[in-house]
Amino acid sequence: MPQLSMKWKVFLSSVVIPIAVVIASDLGLPVVSLLTLSLVFYLPGHILLKGLRPDAQTDFEHLLLAFGLSVAIIIGVGFLLHPVGALRPLGWAAFFAALAAMAWAKKPGMFREYASKVVVAPKASIREAIMLSVAALMVVCALILDYHAAAKHADFRFTEFWMTPQRAPNVLTIGIKNSEGEPTTYEVEATSGGLIVGRWLGISLKPGETWTEVFSTAYKPNDIQRVEAWLFKNNDHSSVYRRVWADIGRPASGGL
């Protein structure tokens, strides 16, 4: 494996690694997942190519063909894993382990050579290294800024209101989720046959918070009656903000 100069060790440890860790942690990526890139997209094709032409150079073309052949091999293996229902992490892990073991048994030095191709010492001046670092940092910042803005962004401010039947025919779950982007107070009123069968006042929810309540109401079997729930927002009783309904009295066919 080629030795990295002190300049590049400093550069890698102070800029590249922190950036990779920041991206990984910020986007929820486990760092180890980046290492699987070469396992999936390079190793299978590399082994096949080395088997077909052991004396060939490991150059850029080799890298490209190794990528393409890795994809082709994995697709082929997918068809082999399908009949036994093994298209799952364990199935793939078994394949990659078998592949690595086979390659190791055939040519123990392959991984040393493989590793030497992964880490290449680039030649650059301090000025260029700084410029490249700044460029990398800018791209990372652009991605993080954009990711956070998009994750938080909502074109609409809204409240979800629902009422679903449970297992028993007269038991209902009523729920609210606040996506108004600000703390909001709600009131819920449930009626059946003109009578109030449930009322919940002063339900204060922070943005993103959910409230649910299970309630039951009297019913006669085979006598279908409608339960209607109204939602009011911020003590405004002049208009119903949301409304939902469900018929009870028949055997429940939905819900979880």
Binding site: H82, A93, D146, A154, W162, M163, V244, A246
Partner: protein
């Protein structure tokens, strides 16, 4: 004297005319590339020591930062600022790198690194547009197949949104493997797969172009010209089977070019090309047909070349394997005829109507809802197309000349055609598809066919146009070349995506511009509270969200005569719709009241082929809310814009 003077004048005039004619012939010869001196050659001088990569990285990073800010400005309802920052960002990535690639003394490796850097920077624009989830329509179709595979651990799980999709599962298998081993989500895995594919495609194109033109300068320019394709930075960046298949196709062509060259590793290249061709077969139907045709044509050209060459037989085998794989897979997976034939037939019909002036033509550069693009975008799009046409005019014969193409006359009527590089001849002939694709794009239904053709035709266009540019400007004119490339690629962006690549606020039936939190949360709610696998009638966008986030079964067309459009938009239910409901074909209907605010941006509210009458004006809200008044229909969910009705009580009921 008086008698000779006119004779002298005539002779002088003849001589001048001959000189002018000779100059015109030389000029035409130079422009068309018939002259050996007008063929592109790499600079014999050693490459400069100075590398521009650091500076160009900084410029590209600044461009990406501007585009990120443009996306944020777009989200915050600042469209003018967003629009300007977006285009300036693209120019910052594009112009400096094109300038460096145009320099005759840039090193080969620097060119290679720069084109990959540019390709990845352009791919990053797609990530900046959708950093949280896939938003492209086609991406959702494949997301569903990938989710099915992840959950069922098997292939071929049905996908009602794209029935043919599960039979071409290459992309989803790869996603399953990478996601399974790395622990990343399907979304992140998909982004990485397509990103790596972009780099591989450009790398393979560079090597092919470098090999067949013997010029790294042409190769570098060809890699920029391919980005002028209207699909390169839009359609081909999507998480979709065609995106991966195009990458594998380019790699297979690289291996096939090496086979045609012969050499000690011919067998390994043949095996590699064959494996890649089979992988393309199970990844994407159209691309696999294209690859099989290309390999067959390459083998035919090598055979017709008439010179004994060791790669000929290997190429014949290769073409045979690709064709056999396509035929066998079509038999196993079921014919793609039902899926592809209507598009082809409609395209051909429209094309015929266009050339006989008997049909309706599509207004170019205008969306389905009549929204026109800004003038400068239209001018750039047309400028790009014009430059490609000029490039083809100047590059077609030049490329054939570069390929060693010669017509040798044995007598007045007998002649023989010779060439050295079959791959370059093939890619040059492929460009003849460009005018056809342009004409098809002027028709309403042929548009899609023409749009898809572009991806394949540009395999040849990029090399021919690059040969023209490098041949015409052999002396350093980097500003001229960079300007031409910039206009070409900007035009490609404008035609392919344009402002849709900025996150503007919600629009009705506008694919990526309609995917937002309110719909996503509603779909997620259905999975949590109604369970999976319910049959939902919903509009085009909510179908996608229900399938992915809700894991529901969206209905893509009621059986028999009943239509979803009628079910949702009619003021009262028709007989067919009542029958469909009583037969239990629909469990729930999801009504999105936002549909009442505008016409569909991409032409349909529900699915292709819906009645044109519904596009006269947006639907009335009371028509959508008719389920409020149908006895027995529950209303379990309401978020102000989306209402869900439970229709299960109507199963087997007499309405």
């Amino acid at each position: 004297m008086s008698l000779t003077a006119p004779g002298v004048l005539v002779r002088r005039a003849q001589s001048r005319l001959m000189t002018l004619g000779w100059r015109a012939i030389r000029l035409a010869s130079m422009l068309l590339g018939l002259d050996e001196t007008s063929l592109p050659k790499d600079n014999p001088l050693p490459a400069q020591n100075r590398s521009w990569i650091a500076e160009l990285s900084l410029a590209a990073a600044t461009g990406l930062m501007l585009i990120a800010l443009a996306q944020i400005a777009g989200m915050h309802y600042l469209p003018d600022i967003a629009y300007k920052m977006y285009w300036v960002g693209i120019i910052l990535i594009l112009f400096p790198i094109s300038f460096c690639l145009a320099l005759p003394d840039a090193s080969r490796n620097e060119r290679l690194l720069l084109v990959i850097m540019m390709g990845l920077a352009f791919y990053a624009i797609k990530i900046l547009h959708s950093p949280v989830r896939f938003t492209g329509y086609d991406e959702f179709l494949h997301w569903v197949t990938a989710l099915n595979m992840m959950e069922q651990h098997r292939l071929f799980g049905p996908n009602s949104l794209l029935e043919v999709g599960p039979h071409y599962p290459g992309l989803e298998i790869l996603t399953n493997a990478f996601s399974g081993v790395s622990g990343l989500s399907i979304f992140t895995s998909g982004l990485i797969i397509i990103g790596l594919g972009k780099a591989a495609l450009l790398g393979a194109l560079f090597l092919i172009a470098e090999t067949i033109t013997r010029s790294s300068r042409v190769a570098g320019i060809a890699c920029v010209v391919i980005m002028a394709s209207s699909t390169f930075n839009s359609f081909e960046t999507q998480y979709a089977y065609a995106s991966l298949a195009l990458v594998l196709t380019m790699l297979a062509l690289l291996a096939a070019v090496r086979v045609s060259q012969g050499g000690p590793h011919i067998l390994s290249y043949t095996v590699a090309a064959a494996l890649l061709a089979v992988a393309v077969t199970v990844t994407h139907h159209l691309t696999s047909y294209f690859l099989a045709a290309m390999l067959a044509a390459l083998a035919a050209l090598e055979l017709a070349r008439g010179q004994r060459q060791e790669g000929r037989l290997h190429l014949v085998w290769l073409a045979g394997i690709a064709v056999a794989a396509d035929v066998l897979w079509s038999r196993f997976a079921g014919s793609t005829g039902a899926y592809l034939t209507p598009v082809l037939l409609e395209g051909v019909k429209d094309f015929w109507a266009l050339i006989t002036s008997s049909g309706v033509t599509r207004t170019p550069l205008e969306d389905a809802d009549g929204v026109r693009k800004p003038l400068w975008e239209n001018v750039t799009s047309m400028g790009s197309t014009m430059l490609v046409c000029l490039g083809l005019a100047a590059g077609f014969l030049r490329s054939l000349n570069l390929a060693g193409g010669r017509i040798i006359f044995k007598s007045k009527l007998r002649f023989r055609v010779e060439w050295r590089t079959s791959a370059l001849v093939l890619l040059t002939l492929l460009t003849l598809g460009f005018p056809l694709s342009i004409l098809l794009r002027l028709t309403p239904f042929g548009w899609e066919l023409g749009y898809r053709m572009i991806s394949y035709v540009f395999f040849g266009i990029c090399i021919v146009v690059a040969v023209a540019i490098a041949g015409l400007w052999q002396k350093p004119r980097p500003i001229v070349i960079a300007s031409i490339l910039t206009v070409m690629v900007l035009g490609g962006f404008a035609t392919g995506s344009g402002p849709n690549f900025i996150n503007y606020p919600y629009k009705v039936a506008a694919d990526s511009q309609s995917i937002e939190l309110l719909g996503v949360q509603a779909a997620e709610w259905t999975r949590t509270w109604l369970g999976r696998g319910n049959i939902f009638a919903a509009d085009r966008i909510n179908q996608l969200l229900l399938a992915v986030y809700g894991r529901q079964e969206p209905l893509t067309g009621l059986k028999d005569e009943a239509k979803i459009t009628e079910l949702v938009f009619a003021r009262a239910l028709g007989d067919e719709e009542r029958k469909a409901l009583s037969r239990g074909w629909v469990d729930y209907v999801m009504i999105d009241l936002r549909l009442t605010t505008a016409l569909p941006r991409y032409g349909v509210y529900f699915e292709a082929g819906e009645d044109e009458a519904v596009h006269a004006r947006p639907p009335d809200p009371p028509a959508l809310l008719k389920f409020n008044d149908i006895k027995g229909v529950d209303r379990p969910f309401d978020n102000g814009a989306i209402i869900i009705y439970d229709l299960r009580s109507l199963h087997a009921a007499k309405l």
